[in-house]
Amino acid sequence: MKFQRIKAIAKKEFLHVFRDPRSLGLGIAIPMLLLFLFGYALTLDVDKVPLIVWDQSNTYASRDLVSRFSGSRYFLLKRYTDNYRDIERAIDRREALIALVIPADFDRRLVAGEKVPVQAILDGSDSNTATIALGYAENAALSYSRDVMLKQSRRQGVNTAFGLLDVRPRIWFNADMISRNYIFPGLIAVIMMVIAALLTSLTVAREWETGTMEQLISTPLKGPELIIGKLIPYFTIGIIDLVLAMLVGQFAFSVPLHGSLILLVGMSLIFLTGTLSLGILISVVTKNQRLASQLALVSTMLPAFLLSGFIFPIDNMPLVIRGVTHLIVARYFVTILRGIYLKDVGLDVLGGEALFLILFTIVVLALAIGKFRKKII
């Protein structure tokens, strides 16, 4: 391996990149635009769940119960209704996600000291939102019940204070439960995964397709030199992307960086090398731009999105699929970024992930170099 030849290839590749300003612009502008858009738009918070109410009782007590819902920020009282057909239609049209049906004898039975059933009908098709909405609803009902019980027992002359259990949550790492703090680090990992693989996935294939590879083959250039030379310019773009991404997180969205910056940078560089090499590997193996692009997107976008733990917790997956996620390099980077950003943990906790990341990078780079043949078949 000669440094000079690597330099020559890197220079050629740099020129290539600079003379296609559109691709260069896309390579830098796309990740930034996406980060801004998603950082701004994406949230998992569920509030203002649209609610409709069928209050058959229409008494002071039932209106009080309804106000427990409509008064909280979690529910948005759309309107009242008076039949099931209407509830059905409202849920079908997604006008309401939850409907409360309060029975006609609500007040009477409550006063009589009975357990009064109130129906909550949910649109279960969106199970995540439904689960959260149901949680809010049950808590609203429980706190209402407790007030009723306290009032009634006072009226009965029992005046002692009741000893009640009070849940005191302490939320670590993300005290205000801002979902953006959770999403943003993962977003960096997912976007960089795809961008890096896309950047390099066509470079070698293009040389084969347009025939310029023959010229390269006729030079004393060796395989590893070509691969490394080709990596360098895209590595530079990748670093620019990552630095910009971190700046956006820090200044535009004030995502707190609790951990070590040095560790963050070090891990990012390894991740970048690994994913860029993956792109090159795809390019070397396919030698065809159409195929390479399909393969690059298919092997990075959905897997990075769905199997990295970005949104869907890996713990929930069956054992086999959890095994598969170990092949998705974004998985390690998502964990590492979240650990550094939110938890301020170091290598003692993230050591396993870091090791896998390094291993992946070495294997993929070695494969890319090994698979490259300086021969025209």
Binding site: G113, S153, F312
Partner: protein, 376 residues
């Protein structure tokens, strides 16, 4: 006219399918992905790994722990006895929640004074943390009911009954609130979007880059025939993929398909119209396949994240919500979820179908117009 179109179709189909690796990517990988992703897309919060830090060790604290376990939402993986271990477990992500019961909790409750139950949550995943917190307060709430009954029984001159509300919840369309039913149909849409967008965005630019476009220009083929010839094979591929993946969702994952299959395919046709339209449009404005691919990604990725697939549209800022109206995937997801889970028909879904049709028609005509310029 039909003769020329037929020739064009044959050429395109041969070109798309000749490479066995391409056939693999187009027909095997989607099924494979559906199977893997179908298992992965699951946001159910059950069996939360929990550690119990019981400093009180009273009948009450043990009763509470048992109630957490019985609820099915919490899996107690460890009983810990020092503060440091709490930090360790949560740092490593080995547990998501720690229940901490301070010394004297049981005694306080027994003597009728308020006590607190501390729950320490890993807030990194704010969504899960919120749900877990809700479960915890629900369990504590039920326990409080019991305490109230007991205490008023003890204090009251004579036992009497207290009225309370019992929330009977019924989740329509998805009784057990299984999240995979919600996500699997959406995975179909995502996969089809990616495949058809990519294919069509490469379609025209490839001819330009390799130089075969000049040969095509020299033939008597018309613009419409050319565009049709480029799109129809991808429509066919798209339909085959949808059919295969739907079969996987239905037979393998047992996602209920309550609505009409015909409607599903009709909506798919409209959806393909818009994805292929966007793809062709990208193809006509790009000069190299690299540019086309980058542009396609730049369309597909936001389309996926701003579709309501994983992030609810209702919670996005107003401006972004307006933006999602331009997103064909948004409409298709509503339709496909509506058909699968709710079994609704055209009477409910027509606005979404109309939206898809309009987007498709506009973007396709744009693509045709742009194409004229590139040939000239």
């Amino acid at each position: 006219m039909f003769e020329r179109l037929k020739c064009m179709l044959i050429k395109e189909i041969i070109q798309a399918l000749r490479d066995p690796r391409m056939r693999f990517i187009l027909f095997v990988i989607p099924v494979f992905q559906t199977v893997i992703f179908g298992y992965a897309v699951n946001t159910d919060v059950r069996h939360v790994k929990t550690a119990v830090y019981d400093l009180d060790n009273s009948a009450e604290s043990r009763e509470l722990t048992a109630r957490f376990v019985r609820s099915g939402y919490f899996d107690v993986t460890e009983h810990i006895s020092n503060e440091q271990r709490v930090r360790e477990l949560i740092d490593r992500g080995e547990v998501k929640a720690v229940l901490r019961m301070n010394l004297g909790m049981g005694a306080l409750l027994r003597s009728g004074r308020p006590a607190s139950l501390q729950i320490i949550l890993d807030g990194t995943d704010s969504n899960t943390a919120g749900i877990v917190l809700n479960y915890a307060s629900r369990i504590a709430g039920r326990y409080n009911d019991l305490l109230l009954m007991k205490q008023q029984g003890k204090n009251g001159v004579q036992p009497f009954r207290l009225g309370r509300v019992d929330l009977e919840s019924r989740a329509w369309f998805n009784d057990n609130l299984e999240s995979s039913n919600y996500y699997v149909p959406a995975v179909i849409a995502n996969i089809v979007l990616i495949i058809t967008m990519l294919l069509s965005s490469m379609a025209v630019v490839r001819e330009k880059e390799i130089g075969t476009m000049e040969q095509i220009i020299a033939t008597p083929i018309t613009k419409a025939e050319f565009i049709l010839g480029k799109t129809i094979p991808f429509v066919i591929i798209g339909f085959i993929d949808v059919a295969m993946i739907t079969a996987v969702a239905y037979f393998w994952f047992e996602v209920p398909l309550r609505g009409s299959l015909i409607l599903l395919f009709a909506a798919t046709a409209l959806f393909l119209m818009s994805t292929l339209g966007f793809g062709l449009f990208i193809s006509t404005i790009s000069h190299t396949q690299q540019q086309a691919m980058m542009s396609a990604f730049f369309f597909v990725f936001p389309a996926m994240l701003l579709s309501g697939f994983a992030f609810p549209i209702e919670n996005m800022p107003e401006t972004v919500q307006l933006l999602t109206f331009l997103n064909p995937l948004r409409y298709y997801l509503i339709i496909i979820r509506g058909i699968f889970l709710k079994g609704v028909g055209v009477d409910i879904l027509w606005p979404e179908m109309l939206g898809l049709f309009l987007i498709g028609a506009v973007i396709l005509s744009f693509a045709v117009q742009r194409f004229k310029k590139t040939v000239a």
